[in-house]
């Protein structure tokens, strides 16, 4: 979680300095969901992520430095600078991301069908936001996954806001989880600020998928601490709401739990945090020295042949 939080904070440094162009979407405040997925997936399991993908990639094991270099538009980036922060691809880990809301779920469906064809135990995980669940692609993919009983786990990060429109104003159902039975899927809503709740639901959904029982939807409730993108004026959420919700920080909550259970002292956790901050700061300094991709390469990779 600390790595996720401080990775995002490192990315934020590149916006005012104009090292990162275009819109940057960070998931500050949503760390518990990605942290809850850590450790359950193998290289054979696929993950299809979104425009807000950094923490999902970290959960899947994508190399942090290569990702940071991609976000900072360097030739050493995981996609050589051709992708940018919304399009992180790591085929060795079956990780991909898309900047189109909802479009990752049909891709995950393909991975899930591949697992069926190969007859292995692999699972396809699609992580989406609450905005994605109202797209046609989401419904098409869920229906097909249910019809074929495919090993698909959809983790919905419900941060209650699809840019400026609240979930309550855009969904015919009160929850997303309750839609699951219509696709012969299992649905559960969990507190996305609680790592253990997410992890338990994720583990159960993976077990269900691996045993051939079909798709699941995990709706993890959370709050986006920052605007939809860096530079978002974020006038649609009241100051009072933002302050109140930001005070429920999943990172602090996890620290408190660890201390309360006697698993670590606050001092130890602060030491760990300090070392994470130092490592990421060192990584960022090193990435900043990397070269930008050469303009002469801009027309490469349109075709493979």
């Amino acid at each position: 979680m600390l790595w996720m939080r401080h990775f995002e904070l490192a990315c934020l440094e590149g916006v005012p300095t104009r090292e990162i162009h275009g819109e940057l979407h960070t998931g500050v405040g949503q760390e518990a969901i990605s942290a809850g997925m850590v450790g359950f997936l193998s290289k054979e399991d696929a993950m299809c992520s979104t425009h807000r993908n950094h923490m999902h990639a970290i959960a899947k094991g994508v190399d942090l430095r290569a990702m940071l270099a991609e976000i900072f538009e360097k030739s050493t980036g995981i996609c050589g600078g051709f992708g940018g922060h919304m399009h992180i691809f790591d085929p060795s880990l079956k990780f991909s991301a898309t900047g189109i809301v909802g479009a990752g779920v049909p891709v995950a469906l393909g991975h899930a069908y591949a697992a069926r064809l190969k007859g292995n135990q692999a699972v396809a995980v699609a992580v989406v936001g609450d905005g994605a669940v109202n797209t046609g692609a989401f419904h098409e993919a869920m229906n097909m996954a249910g019809a074929l009983s495919l090993p698909l786990v959809v983790v919905v990060e419900n941060n209650e806001w699809a840019i400026s429109v609240p979930f309550s104003a855009s969904s015919a159902t009160e929850t997303i989880a309750e839609r699951a039975p219509s696709w012969r899927a299992h649905g559960i809503r969990v507190n996305g600020l609680d790592v253990e709740e997410v992890a338990n639901a994720f583990e159960a959904a993976l077990a269900r998928a691996r045993s051939g029982k079909g798709p699941s939807i995990i709706e993890a409730m959370c709050y986006r601490f920052r605007g939809h993108f860096e530079g978002d004026a974020d006038m649609y959420r009241s100051k009072e709401e933002k302050e109140r919700r930001r005070s429920e920080d999943p990172l602090e909550r996890t620290k408190e739990t660890l201390v309360a259970r006697g698993l670590a002292t606050l001092e130890e956790l602060n030491e760990i945090e300090k070392s994470v901050v130092a490592s990421i700061s060192e990584m960022l300094a090193s990435v900043r020295k990397d070269p930008s991709p050469s303009g002469a390469d801009a027309t490469r990779y349109v075709f493979a042949e």
């Binding site: 992708g83 085929p91 189109i100 469906l109 991975h111 098409e140 097909m144 349109v302 075709f303």
Partner: protein
């Protein structure tokens, strides 16, 4: 499919029925319902799962029944299939064939378009449109083998025709062979005018060329076979000889193939004394046949265009 177990066929009615035009008949029986999958009417799911399957090392052939339906899933086609190789810095490949049917057979505005110009405008897609059975088989084999995504547009008029009714390319060997993608075919040699076309308008162009010869006009007919890559070497060599170019295109006129061919000739500084484009004049395809015949190139309008281009109208 026999040679490569990674090849899959996915789409609506491709399995049990073998495709609405019979193009995949017998495949499900032979290769099973895993490799030949009948899907719900869910084009976004079909094309999206093609992306996931390609990422898993498969070579999916995705059938979009009519090219007009691409509107409901163009996102996956141009934002993922066409771009993933590029966006990943060459790390992932998208060896996907989007097999679809285009062309006019009197089906009205939503079931008659060609749209190869649309796909060709989007970087990252190869675009193939065969004109005869021999090419269709050979080009499909090349498309399936290709590591790049290929939009394969079969003309409905040709799909509904019997092989023996084709005046060229009707002999189809049973064994496997390939026709390379990106190499145009000079269907008929000539010296007065270069007629460039593809797909369903190749046959009427050849007939019109035969008629023109009776009037002393020698027309060279080039079947492009693919819009991307566009074989400008073959076209340029012909126009150098004839100095006159007529592009016959069943797709829409503006911002499309016909302008592209002519512009590329000009960029090559090839001397041209006469240019004409015969294409659908920027109107939707009408329903009634009497209206359709007015806007879609046919033997009569091609003959008139030939005469006009050589100045004998």
């Amino acid at each position: 499919m026999e040679r490569d177990p990674q090849v899959l066929v996915i789409g609506e009615d491709v399995g049990g029925q073998g495709g609405v035009f019979g193009a995949t008949r017998g495949l499900q029986k032979k290769y099973g319902s895993g490799r030949v999958l009948d899907t719900p009417i869910s084009e976004s799911a079909i094309t999206g799962m093609g992306v996931g399957l390609a990422l898993e090392g498969y070579r999916p052939v995705l059938e979009i029944m009519f090219v007009d339906f691409i509107g409901v899933c163009l996102d996956q086609v141009y934002n993922a299939i066409a771009k993933n190789h590029y966006m990943s810095g060459g790390k992932v490949r998208m060896p996907i064939v989007i097999k679809t049917a285009g062309g006019c057979i009197g089906s009205g505005a939503q079931h008659s378009q060609c749209l190869w110009g649309l796909f060709a405008h989007l970087p990252g897609l190869k675009v193939v449109a065969p004109s005869n059975p021999y090419d269709a088989k050979g080009l499909m084999a090349s498309a399936v083998e290709s590591d790049d995504p290929v939009v394969f547009i079969e003309h409905k008029g040709l799909l509904l025709k019997r092989a023996e009714d084709f005046t060229f390319g009707s002999d189809v060997p049973a064994e496997r062979y390939t026709v390379p993608i990106g190499k145009a075919n000079v269907v008929r040699e000539g010296s007065d005018l270069t007629l460039v076309t593809l797909s369903g308008t190749v046959a009427p162009s050849v007939t019109a060329a035969e008629e023109a010869l009776k009037k002393g006009i020698s027309v060279e007919v080039i079947d492009l076979r693919s819009v991307v890559p566009l074989d400008m070497d073959t076209v340029a060599a012909s126009v150098k000889k004839t100095g006159k170019i007529l592009v016959v295109d069943e797709d829409y006129l503006s911002f499309g193939l016909s302008a592209e061919v002519v512009t590329r000739l000009l960029e090559r500084k090839i001397s041209i004394t006469s240019v004409k484009r015969l294409a659908v004049p920027d109107v939707p395809i009408p329903g009634a046949l009497s209206l359709e015949q007015e806007v879609v190139p046919n033997e009569r309008s091609i003959s008139a265009a030939i005469a006009e281009t050589v100045g004998k109208a």
